[in-house]
Structures are given as C-alpha cells and as structure tokens.
C-alpha cells in the first residue's frame, strides 16, 4: 500500500521534529533568568523547600539528565506549575484550549464559507454583475488584507459594533458576565449551549464569538483568499481548460474540474495559516479577553511566569507540526501526481 507507506514515512519525520521541539523549549526556559524552583515557590519560601523541589525536579543534575527528566515529565502530562497561581500548567492549558480552538475554528469557517466562494467567483472571467462585483470586492480586500494589525482591527470593530451601534457585546469574554458557562462536553460554548438546549446562552456565546472570529477571518484569511483566486485563475487559463472548452463540456463541469486543480495550493496555504493561528491569534484573544491559551501565554510573559510559556510554546509548535502533517496527507490524497512522485 503506497498510501500507508507514505503515512509511515511522514510520521517518521515527525519523531525527530518533536524531539527538536522539546529540546528548544527546554533550552528556552533554561535561558530565562532565575531559578525555576525558587520562582515556583515564591520569594518567601524557605530555602530548604527550594532545595527539595530542585531535587524533585532534578534541577541539581547535569543538563542532559535534566532534559531527560523534563521529557519524562512531559510524557506524564506534567507541564510544571505556574508560580503566579500555583496551578498545574497542563490543567490550565486544557481548560483554556477550547476558547482558542473555538476562535480558530469559527474564523476558518468564515474564511471557507464566505471568503473562498467570493475568491472563486472573482476568478471567473465571466462578465456578469456578480463576477464584476466580487472582482471589485476582491481587489479592495487584496489591498487591505495583511496590512491591518489584528489587535487594532478588533478594537475598531468593538468601537463600531459595541460602542456606537450596540449590536455586539463588549470585550467581556466568551459569555456575558451573568451567563453561566454550559456543562462542558466539547468545550466550545457555541456547541455546548446548543447541546444543553439553552438558546439564550447560545445566542450570547455566538454574539461574543462573532467579532473576534470576523477579525481573525479578515486578517488571516488574506493569504488563503489570494491563493484561491490566483490558483483558480491559473486553472481557468490553463491548456486543459481551453481543451475542455474545445470539447464542449458543460460550463459546470469545467468550473468544478478547475476547482479541483485550485484545491492543492489552497489547502497548503490554509494549513500554513491554521498552523500559525494557535500562536498567531494571541492578540485577538487578548483584545477580546477570550481567556484562551494565547492570552494565558501573553499574561504569563508579562508576569515572567515561565512554566506556562514553556507549555504554550510546546503545545503551539506541536499543533503546527500536526497541522502540517494533515496538510501533507490531504495533498497526498487530492493530487495523484504527488503520490506518484513520492512513492
């Protein structure tokens, strides 16, 4: 089975990469000033306690052993403790991850459902009003996308839709202050409130998600939008499309087939953007006060709380590598030429 072989080989590459990630996060934290044991216990803790903890964390051993100890702790799901609120970092990350994932998912959904169709339409050479309108939109968007800072756009949206128009809630988090969070099933409030059948909470969760998701889609959808449009245009100009026209194939078939050709590069860019977002959308989380893992990391940096930073960097890097893996596998499935070349 060439497919299985490819997946196997691709996973094999992942192993040294994950090792490297752990080495880098380990080194990063060793480079940070201060003694982790002292930091974890706080400045007022007695010296004996610090020595004891240092021994428990095996910080008194040479660096290679320390690294091994670090790996062992990681494998047991122990990401260390935050010294600010002495909670388990793994626990903190788990509690906050759904907020970040919900934001990314909602943003990417907007990109795929709203922006990709516009990009496809704007690529068509048709002279109809719809194609002309989308071409104009796509020109304007192409100019703006990537130039506007996400944190600022978020603020502007809050100003217009909350302060001026009053259509959206302010940056108070994922739910109104008086709303109770739904029982945790998926961790996505939008889904969980629906599962619980609580429509008021659902509306609240959705309206709190809307502005951050739009901000994310607008700022980070740019590369996807441009790539979809460019590769669709290229596909529609290509020899095989002209030949298909020459064979009198229905317009619908020709467009569908061209979309197939536009898909692989679009999938790659979507993957790269999605992989970037976990660590890249931290400012949107901060502006809207979503309390996801990105905001957690930003707060930890300002309080010099290293264990959470280490945990976040590790999770984000692994997440990115996983997304890259999925993209490679997707490409392998979409494009028969790749499977021919690799296997």
């Amino acid at each position: 089975m060439p497919t299985l072989k490819y997946i196997g080989r691709r996973l094999l590459v992942l192993v040294p990469q994950l090792f490297l990630i752990s080495i880098i996060t380990f080194t990063l934290v060793r480079m940070l000033p201060g003694d982790p044991a002292r930091l974890e216990l706080g400045p007022l803790a007695p010296e004996e306690g610090v020595v004891l903890l240092r021994h428990q964390l095996r910080l008194d051993e040479p660096l290679p052993q320390q690294y091994i100890a670090y790996l062992q702790r990681l494998l047991q799901g122990d990401f260390g403790r935050s010294w600010v609120n002495s909670s388990s970092v793994a626990q903190d990350l788990l509690v906050r991850a759904p907020a970040t994932l919900e934001l990314i998912t909602a943003g990417m959904l907007i990109v795929l459902v709203v922006m990709v169709p516009v990009a496809l339409l704007s690529a068509s050479p048709s002279r109809g009003w719809l194609a002309r309108a989308t071409r104009r939109i796509s020109f304007g968007y192409g100019l703006l996308a990537g130039a506007l800072p996400d944190f600022w756009l978020g603020l502007v949206l809050i100003f217009f839709f909350f302060s001026v128009l009053g259509w959206a809630p302010g940056p108070e988090g994922r739910l109104a202050i008086l709303d109770l969070p739904p029982e945790r099933v998926t961790g996505f409030y939008v889904v969980d409130t629906l599962l619980a059948g609580n429509f008021d909470s659902f509306r609240s969760a959705l309206s709190h998600l809307a502005l951050p998701a739009i901000t994310l889609a607008f700022v980070y959808g740019g590369p996807i939008f441009k790539m979809v449009r460019a590769s669709m245009e290229a596909a529609l100009r290509s020899d095989y499309t002209i030949y298909a026209e020459g064979l009198g194939l229905p317009r619908r078939t020709i467009l569908l087939w061209a979309m197939r050709n536009a898909a692989p590069p679009a999938v790659v860019v979507t993957g790269v953007v999605a992989g970037y977002l976990l660590g890249g959308a931290v400012l949107i989380e901060t502006v809207f006060n979503l309390n996801g893992i990105g905001q957690y990391a930003v707060q930890s940096i300002t309080t010099a709380d290293y264990a959470p930073i280490q945990g976040f960097v590790l999770v984000a890097a692994v997440f990115t590598m996983m997304v890259y893996l999925i993209v490679d596998l997707l490409q392998f499935m979409i494009d028969p030429r790749i499977s021919a070349r690799i296997t």
């Binding site: 990469q17 001026v164 002209i242 298909a244 020459g246 064979l247 194939l249 660590g279 960097v313 021919a340």
Partner: protein
C-alpha cells in the same frame, strides 16, 4: 516537508523568470513610465513615509512627548486635528514621530535577517546541490530544522526573546530578526538551487573556482532581485510584529512614540467611545505595511523589463500574395464546403492584427495543411475557428461558416454544442491538454455525455470501445489512469479517441505530434489520417513540418505574418513554390523527402 517545498518551487519558478529578464537595464524614465498611476502613488507614499521616518520629530507641530495636563483626551479640533491622548499629548505630533521607531526597528531587523539568512541560504543551496550524499543530508537536515523553528509561535517566540533579554528597542530588533531569518534562508537556498543550473555557473566552476565561491560571487548577486522583493514584504511584517510586541508591553515602551504602544494606550478609551487615540495609529500602521507590501510588487515589476509587446507587423502589400490565394479570398464560399473561412482577422486589443483577412474553403474529407514559420499565426487560426481565443484576443472582422452557421456570431450555448461534437480539436502536447487531476475515463465519459444522451455506464462502455478501436489494449486500465501515468504518445492517442468518438465532420489539429518521439509521431499520424478517411472527417492540420504536409495533406496554405500568402494543391505549392516564404520553408525542410512525397501525392486530384 512538501508544504514548504511547494512554496519553494513556486518561488524558484518565479524568480528564475525575473532573473532571465533582468539583463535588460531600463532607464529611470522608462521605469517611471511603465508604472501604473496606482503604483506611482504608492511610490510617492513610500518616499513620504521614509521622509517622515527620517525627519518626523522635527516637523511635528508639538513636541511628541510634551504632555499638557489641561488638554487630556481632547477630541479632534483646530489646535489638535487628531485630538490628544490621556496624558494630553498631541496625537498628530506623536503620529508623525512614531514611524521612525517602527520603521527603523523593522528595517534594521530585516537587514540582520538577510545578513544571516542569505549566506546560510547560499551554503544550504550549495550543500543540497552537491554530489556528495552526506552534504545533501546536511542540507536536508537544516531545512527540517527550519520547519521546526518556523513551527514555533512567532509572536510568543519574540515575546520570550524579549522577556529573556528585557524590553528595549535593541532586543526587539534581535527578536524580530531571529523570527524572520529563516524566510531568507529558504528563499536564497531555492534561488541558488535554480541558478546553479545556469551555464554561466557551470562555466565558472569549470574555470576552477570553488563551488561555494561561485555561489557567493556569481549566484548570490543574481538572487538579489528576488530577495529585495521579499525584503519589502518582510519589513511590512516586521513593522506589524514590532507594533504587536509594543501593544502587549513587550516591545518599545512609552514615552518613546511608537504606534503599537499608542494603540495600546488608546484601547480602553476606544471601548468607551473615545476613538481618536487608537484609531489613527492603526490606520497609519496599515498604510505603512500596505505601502511596503505593494513596493515589493513594484520592485518585482521594475526588475522585469517592459511587458512583452507583440512584434509590430507591417501590413504586406497584396502583390506579395500569390494569385491563387488571392483568388480564393475573393471568391464566394464554394458549394458544399464543410468549412468556409472568409476574411478572418484576429487582434490583441489595440495591436496590429495577428491574423489578417484569412480565407479558405474546406471540402468534406479534405485535409488542408497550414504551414508557416513560428509565430505566423497557425495556432491562433486553429483556435479562432471555434472561438477558443482566450483572454486578450478578439475577432476584428470576418466569418467562419460551418455547415451554414457562422461560428463567429453564434451564441455561446449553440457554439458549445458544436464544439466537441461536430468540430474536434487536437492540440499540441496532448499531456498538457489533459487535466492532471481528472482520470482519462472521467474526461471521456463527460465528453460523450455532453453531446449524446446516455447513461454513465453506456458512455464508459463507448469510451472503452473507442480506445479499443484505435488500438489501445487494456482499455479499462487506461480509463482509470491519470494523465501523468500516460506517455506523450498515449496521451495523444487518447485525444485522438476523444476526437473521433462522435464521428465529427471536422477536425482541427494544431501540431498534433509535436513533442512526440519520431517513430511514435508516424504511428499517431498514420492512425489519425486513416481514421479520418474512414469517417470522412475533413481536417485543418497546422504544422511546421513540410514532410507531414507532403505526405498526408490534399492542399496546403502558407501562412506568413497572419496572412495566407500562398495556397494550392500540395504538389503545386511544394514543387513550384511562388512565394519567398514557401521557398524558405522548403529549403529548411529535408528537400528530398518533401519532393518525393509531393511527387507521389495525388490526393488533391482525388478530392477535387
């Protein structure tokens, strides 16, 4: 990883195009005149931003750090056109002073990124192209390592770096530089990889220079244009990163005027409706990033010499055209002609015509060869018959009458019904005509069902029969194949099967055997002509090879600079050429083969 690999490939292609055209140095005035007015505006804006970055603090109406406690959070008015912030500092003055910080940090950081990334890229590219296996492994390892570095959250990484070293402009510069250097490493590496294939690189190595030395001395300078485009984009990105870091307090801190920190200080007022403190810095930030990004495009454009212009053509005077061709042009359509082209003229808008006054008739079962030098308009003629001109080309005059219908005037829907059913194209390089992601069988089934009512299953069976009829065994195997699994000859045979499945009265072929092996060429041509004879299909066959014309065609038209300069039976034209171009074509061909074939070519008499 192929994710980044695809990116590199794409860059490599684009950059080699730029380099290939880099040799022509245009003058400054020429450069300016090539820019659109939009590009010119961006260029002016770019210069303005640089001036403000350099001299901003000097021209600001108020000192940018001067706080007036009596004037806190004043909304925009005459004295403070953009209002004041919570300390009573004039927002406009800070705006004018701030770009210096952001742009300077971004420019210095990007310079460092290039200074580190480019040499490493040369080394990586050098190792990767090396003959020794171990070296290639080193290079491969470096790239996988970069994958990992780039997988780290850029923003948090920069924050951590700033946290390790403390805040302050220098540390921000280092962090931003560190985050961006892999971009340049990758870019230069892929450039070097493609450049080292060039003959001059090989020549320099052959002259005894070390490969690495050649990489730095000869190849790296040629990579600069592409790098410069990326530099511009990266500076924009670096400005955003700097502002973002300052926004969360990990970058430049007040009182130094800086755009991200300005937005941060205005954020809480934005929510309660005092918009001016945060709005303007964001707009300016967007403008700066946008300008740098578009400057990248402009730099790229400027380094490509002028757009390719279609060579201007002097209209040939009519006396240059052999009388027989003139006579046919003037005559009304022949009785019973399957295709009758009259006065067809095609132009790219605003340029001289590519085809001019082309006229000919085609009788049922007749094969008309169209010959000419490269660029004479053969391919355009073939495509113009069924209006497959693509963007930019249009018909200026003339008619294409097929079975009583003028294809040039027909509406899109009716034309679609004729294309692929009554008129079938055979185009050059069959493999590129087949959509790489569509199975051969799916294309054939879609084509059959586009023109005749039948089930998918019936269409599939018909496609298999058709492949069998043209001598392809194991039809099911080929129907399930993707185009990349086909050889060039097999792909052309598939196109032939597609062309014949509806038994069309007319086939229009454009260099159908170009790119094929000589022996395969012959097989495909023999098959094509034989099957056309069987089904009685007429054919227009554009080719540059007179040998093909001499052997297979009934009549021949010589196309030169968009005009038919000579037309007649194969024998007449090839044995007693009247036009200089025809003589040149014959002289260039294998004379004996052509004349022998032409002498024995009696097909013109059979038809007429």
């Amino acid at each position: 990883m192929s994710t980044s690999q695809g990116n590199d490939d794409w860059r490599r292609q684009r950059s080699s195009a730029i380099v290939a055209r880099y040799s022509a140095h245009p003058t400054v005035i020429g450069l300016w005149s090539r820019l659109s007015s939009f590009d010119r505006a961006i260029l002016v804006l770019f210069v303005l931003i640089l001036i403000v970055a350099a001299f901003g603090p000097l021209v600001a109406p108020y000192p940018p750090t001067f706080a007036d406690p009596l004037q806190r959070l004043v909304s925009p008015n005459g004295a403070h056109p953009f209002g004041t912030d919570e300390n009573g500092i004039d927002v406009l003055s800070r705006l004018i002073a701030a770009p210096r910080t952001d742009v300077l940090i971004a420019v210095i950081a990007t310079t460092i990124s290039v200074a580190i990334g480019a040499p490493l890229g040369v080394v990586a590219g050098y190792f990767e192209g090396a003959d020794r296996r171990a070296m290639r492994w080193v290079s491969e390892g470096t790239l996988r390592l970069l994958d990992v570095v780039q997988a780290f959250p850029v923003f948090i990484l920069a924050m951590v770096l700033v946290a390790i070293r403390g805040t302050g402009p220098v540390n921000v510069v280092l962090a931003v530089a560190f985050v961006n250097f892999p971009v340049f490493l990758r870019l230069v590496r892929s450039e070097i990889l493609s450049l080292r294939e060039h003959p001059y690189a090989e020549a320099a190595v052959a002259l005894g220079n070390s490969e690495l030395g050649v990489g730095f001395k000869h190849l790296l300078p040629n990579a600069w244009p592409t790098v410069l485009v990326q530099v511009s984009v990266t500076i924009g990105f670096a400005v955003l990163l700097t502002a973002g870091l300052s926004f969360v307090g990990a970058g430049v801190s007040p009182p130094t005027p800086e755009l991200g920190a300005m937005i941060a200080s205005g954020a809480k007022f934005m929510i309660i409706g005092q918009w001016w403190v945060a709005l303007f810095p964001g707009l300016l930030l967007g403008l700066i990033v946008f300008t740098f990004a578009v400057m990248g495009d402009i730099v790229g454009k400027l380094m490509e010499p002028g757009q390719r212009t279609i060579p201007s053509r002097r209209p040939l005077s009519k006396d240059h055209i052999a009388p027989a061709a003139q006579a046919e042009a003037a005559a009304p359509s022949a009785q019973g002609a399957v295709l009758s082209v009259r006065g067809l003229a095609i132009e790219a808008s605003g340029c001289p015509p590519i085809l001019d006054g082309v006229s000919f008739d085609l009788m049922p079962g007749e094969i008309l060869g169209v010959v000419g030098l490269p660029g004479s308009g053969k391919s355009i003629l073939i495509r113009a018959i069924v209006r497959l001109l693509g963007q930019g080309l249009q018909r200026r005059a003339g008619h294409v009458v097929f079975r009583g219908k003028d294809l040039a005037e027909l509406d899109e829907k009716k034309l679609r019904a004729i294309r692929g059913y009554e008129i079938l194209p055979l185009l050059p390089n069959a493999k590129s005509q087949l959509n790489p992601l569509v199975r051969v069988g799916d294309l054939m089934v879609a084509h059959i069902r586009a023109h005749s009512r039948c089930s998918r299953r019936e269409a599939h069976a018909r496609a298999a029969r058709m492949l069998g009829a043209i001598g392809i065994g194991d039809a099911e195997h080929w129907l399930a194949a993707y185009p990349h699994e086909l050889s060039g000859g097999m792909a052309q045979r598939v196109c032939l099967a597609i062309a014949l499945v509806h038994r069309p009265p007319l086939i229009i072929a454009d260099e159908p055997t170009v790119g094929l092996d000589v022996t395969v060429q012959r097989q495909v041509l023999d098959l094509m002509i034989e099957l056309c004879h069987q089904s009685g299909a007429a054919q227009v066959l554009a080719t540059r090879e007179l040998g093909i014309v001499a052997q297979y065609c009934n009549r021949v038209a010589v196309l030169h600079e968009g005009l038919i300069v000579e037309m007649g039976s194969v024998r007449d034209v090839l044995l007693t050429p009247r036009h200089a171009v025809t003589r040149r074509l014959i002289a260039a061909a294998d004379l004996r083969a052509v004349s022998a074939a032409a002498t024995t070519n009696t097909s013109s008499e059979i038809v007429r």
